[in-house]
Symmetry: C2
Subunit: 203 residues, 2 copies
Amino acid sequence: MGRGMSLEHDLNDSNAYYCSCERALIHKKPTPIQVVKVDYPERSAAKITEAYYKTPSTTDYNGIYRGRAIDFEAKETRQKTSFPFKSIHPHQIEHLKKVLQHGGIGFFIIRFTTLEETYLIDAGILIDMYYEGERKSISYMKVKEVGSLIRMGLTPRLCYLDNVDALYFKEEKSYGTKSKRGNGGCECITEATRSKGHQRNNR
Amino acid sequence: MGRGMSLEHDLNDSNAYYCSCERALIHKKPTPIQVVKVDYPERSAAKITEAYYKTPSTTDYNGIYRGRAIDFEAKETRQKTSFPFKSIHPHQIEHLKKVLQHGGIGFFIIRFTTLEETYLIDAGILIDMYYEGERKSISYMKVKEVGSLIRMGLTPRLCYLDNVDALYFKEEKSYGTKSKRGNGGCECITEATRSKGHQRNNR
């Protein structure tokens, strides 16, 4: 699962699903672009003819989940043994520090593409490591230790809100129990649960 | 005050101020652009040579204030007697409905540029009007009635978080009293308060 699919694609797909079943309202922000020249041809849409990518000053994703502001950055690496900090812009670290200060939920989603594993790591933990000593990366073993593995499903592709529930809402009832729709209204459908459903239907 | 300054400029300036004094974390999202062609010249940055503006699927501004998710759209009109609903994309109305459903604070900031007046209107109120009957606009008188006038200052340009305090946090202590910095740490500086300060300094 996940082969060939980019992390961004998986997250957009998951957010669209979570939004459609009203579990959360989370969007990817547009990529910041500096527009230099625009043509306004007659009878058609404005055409941008010169523009450049800008360094993002915030993270890529934010929104609202269970009444809380949520904000995160997602990164993937082909490395198998560590995740390099140079993939994260200092602006994004600063932004997530502020998210925590203002009472939001902040985290990183990190995918090891070769291993086909995606982890959620609390922003506070990763930021501490980022500033600690002269570290230039976080090892895969450390990611496994401090992060939580995100289950991959059919719908949504990445069941990352289950990790958010476990990490940030453990005192409260789980999403499924609390929801008026009950379990299954906006849950993670994996190959395992789907085949269980099939067995049930076949009886 | 405000003449020649666009609403977007004023809001970006205000958000930068609120962010620097740690009162809130609110940003404008980048304008969504569909990139079609990119050149990768040697030894220089990628140059986008064909791109088009996309219709925004969400609002322009969001962030965190006093632990709550905040989300709003800002629009200006040159009309003096009403604000036309056609300036608001249906997507933005739908998005703000979801913000309210998920427990966020949602509103519109509407400026009558000719009158040099800027109002904050709760999203719930404006959305009800938007869907009511065959209305195509909201009259200036109605905006005055259901909205709250935003004070213009020197720093920040638009003291809109004071309106947010009054509307959404009236049960709690005001920002100034609650803040560790006390009054004046991140308050609105207007010409009136500045000249008071000058008088004090001159004594």
